[in-house]
């Protein structure tokens, strides 16, 4: 126990030099956790928003459906398999019928996807309750998102001509009324999309009982392949793979930033260690004269360096925890252009700090500090006590 006691004593005894190092290191500590927390928060926020508003517990898709190819939409529908219908009846699934259409706001032509969904569904975080469940009126109730509203210049209460083709390929058109403009961070349920009551869309297209895909509730028991009657299942992971890949790409930049911050802090530690070895040679000689072996002196100086990181961790905790907790509560206001990044981020980004993140950062800082502290102390291994006592290094 003598070495830890001495190391702590020496560290605290060094006064301002120690506290400057500790402050720089703690700053790196907090900035690394904050930046990684932003990334983790972004990942979590995007995933949660996508799962809540689009993915649910995964989709069963019609075999002909390809979400990335609008040309498949003509044939990408069919009667909902009985197992999935049963889930829908139990409120554990929401069938969605998708067709292509066109609207003519202010005389302009805008190509859209018309999506029929049960207004009473509660699986997706889409305010479908604004869509009147009953059909048969002349006007078609339509729910759109803010991005779509901006694109088309439409607002709640506006009327617009909507055109589509029915199952026989015949063009039909009717007046649609915008019942609500929803606010959502998930672009894929907003941009170029019109949400209408499912029963109404089926009636308009003469596709009774048809759907393009069925969204499962997160707690729904997934039917087997045979029960799905050839409908293909796309899991949450399938949906989120692209987003995760994008977040991963952004994390590379963040990792480089973290590495630079850590490197700057390590430079301070390295500098201190080199200076300590240079300035404290006589002290090393005295320690050896009093009975310290070279190994003990090396351990002492390495531990002093490592304790910088421990103290930095404590200091970082003292101001970092309240600061990061406040940051996690209030979030970070994102500029309007963030919407173009392709992430479902919303207006504010809320960082998330997991135990794993904090533990990994702590371990990283401790490990690098130990290595950086040890490298210059290796010189001590060649130090002769007599030379050290004279204030020289060998």
């Amino acid at each position: 126990m003598i070495i830890p006691k001495l190391a702590l004593k020496n560290l605290l005894g060094a006064g301002l030099r120690t506290w400057l190092n500790v402050f720089v290191l703690s700053l790196s500590f907090v900035l690394i956790v904050a930046s990684r927390g932003l990334l983790e928060g972004m990942n979590r926020q995007v995933e949660e928003a996508m799962v809540a508003s689009e993915v649910g517990g995964g989709h069963f898709e019609h075999p002909a459906y390809d979400a990335y190819d609008p040309l498949t939409l003509v044939d990408a529908h069919g009667p909902v398999p009985p197992a999935l219908s049963a889930l829908a009846a139990a409120g554990k699934a929401a069938p969605v019928l998708v067709i292509q259409g066109t609207i003519y706001p202010e005389g302009r032509l805008v190509t859209v996807q018309i999506k029929g969904i049960d207004p009473n569904q509660s699986i997706l975080n889409i305010p479908t309750a604004f869509l009147p469940a009953a059909s048969g009126e002349d006007e078609i109730p339509v729910l759109i998102g803010e991005r779509m509203a901006r694109l088309s210049g439409l607002k709640a209460g506006d009327r617009v001509t909507m055109q589509w083709r029915d199952t026989r390929g015949t063009f039909d058109a009717r007046e649609a009324v915008i019942v609500q403009v929803m606010k959502t961070s998930v672009q894929t349920i907003d941009q170029g999309q019109l949400w209408v009551p499912l029963a109404r869309l089926r009636e308009m297209t003469d596709l009774a009982g048809h759907a393009t895909f069925v969204v499962l509730a997160q707690d729904a028991e997934r039917p087997g392949e045979a029960e799905a009657a050839g409908w293909r299942f796309r899991s949450q992971d399938d949906f989120l793979a692209d987003t995760r890949a994008m977040v991963e790409t952004k994390s590379i930049g963040m990792t480089i930033m973290s590495a630079i911050m850590l490197a700057l802090a390590m430079l301070a530690i390295f500098d201190t260690q080199v200076l300590a070895i240079f300035h404290r040679r006589r002290e090393m000689g005295t320690l050896m004269a009093l009975g310290f072996t070279r190994g003990r002196v090396i351990r002492l100086f390495t531990l002093e360096g490592l304790l910088n990181a421990v103290l930095a961790g404590l200091v970082a905790a003292a101001y970092g925890i309240p600061l990061l907790a406040w940051f996690a509560r209030t979030g970070w206001a994102l500029p309007a252009t963030t919407d173009d990044y392709g992430f479902a981020l919303g207006e504010r980004l809320f960082p998330a700090y997991s135990v794993r993140l904090v533990a990994a950062t702590t371990l990283l800082v401790l490990l690098t500090t130990t290595i950086v502290s040890f490298i210059p102390t290796r010189r001590i291994a060649r130090l002769k006590p007599t030379e050290a006592l004279r204030g020289r290094t060998t």
């Binding site: 003598i2 006691k5 004593k9 020496n10 605290l12 005894g13 060094a14 006589r282 002290e283 000689g285 005295t286 320690l287 050896m288 004269a289 009093l290 009975g291 310290f292 072996t293 070279r294 190994g295 003990r296 002769k384 006590p385 007599t386 006592l389």
Partner: protein, 244 residues
Amino acid sequence: MTDTPLILTKDLKKTYPMGLHRIEALAGVTLSFERGEFAGLVGPSGSGKTTLLNIIGSLDTPTDGSAVVMGQRIERLTHQEAARLRNRHIGFIFQTFNLLPVYTVYENVEFALLLLGLPAAERRRKVMAALDWVHLADRADSRPAQLSGGQSQRVAIARAIVKEPGIILADEPTANLDAENSHAILRTMERINREFGTTFIFATHDFKVMHYLRRTITLIDGRVDSDVPAGGGGEDRDRPGEQP
């Protein structure tokens, strides 16, 4: 007393590389020291005093010859064995005091006992006894920067004697002190030598120190030029500042 001397050097040689040449610091020194001696190595700068002291203190090893200290062959000791010998049996007093600056007086003195692994109560008792010896018990909580040169050297003496070593090696212990402080610490060392039988070996060219020595070994160019008793113990000599 046993037949084996406490310290025995035989034809001790030490050379150092100096550029393309080698400097011969010790050129065959044969000496022996018994328990309780109060001896000094004197001579001009570069005569080998500190080198000999360092080898006896197991801080350095000879190039040739042998040095046996408390039954241990210095040239054969590993780093660990040498460190253990220094820790248990040898106390050092340096010209520049070499106190550890971030520790208090108490902690500086306690340091050697920490390495010996003594229990806290025993350490406290020994440290306070050592500080009493050098009349610094009331400065136990001071830091070295708050002490005068004389007080710092007295702390160094306390640190050297606290573990009750058989040998204390003092390299120019009075070089940074004024006359009054020099005599004060020399009297303290002499008293320790008399009461505990601790062997003191000085490296010095300070005449004040030489007044106290009971054996004076003069080194010239790494060789023993003379080895004479100083006659009857230093306490009988006329020393300035002596208290009745």
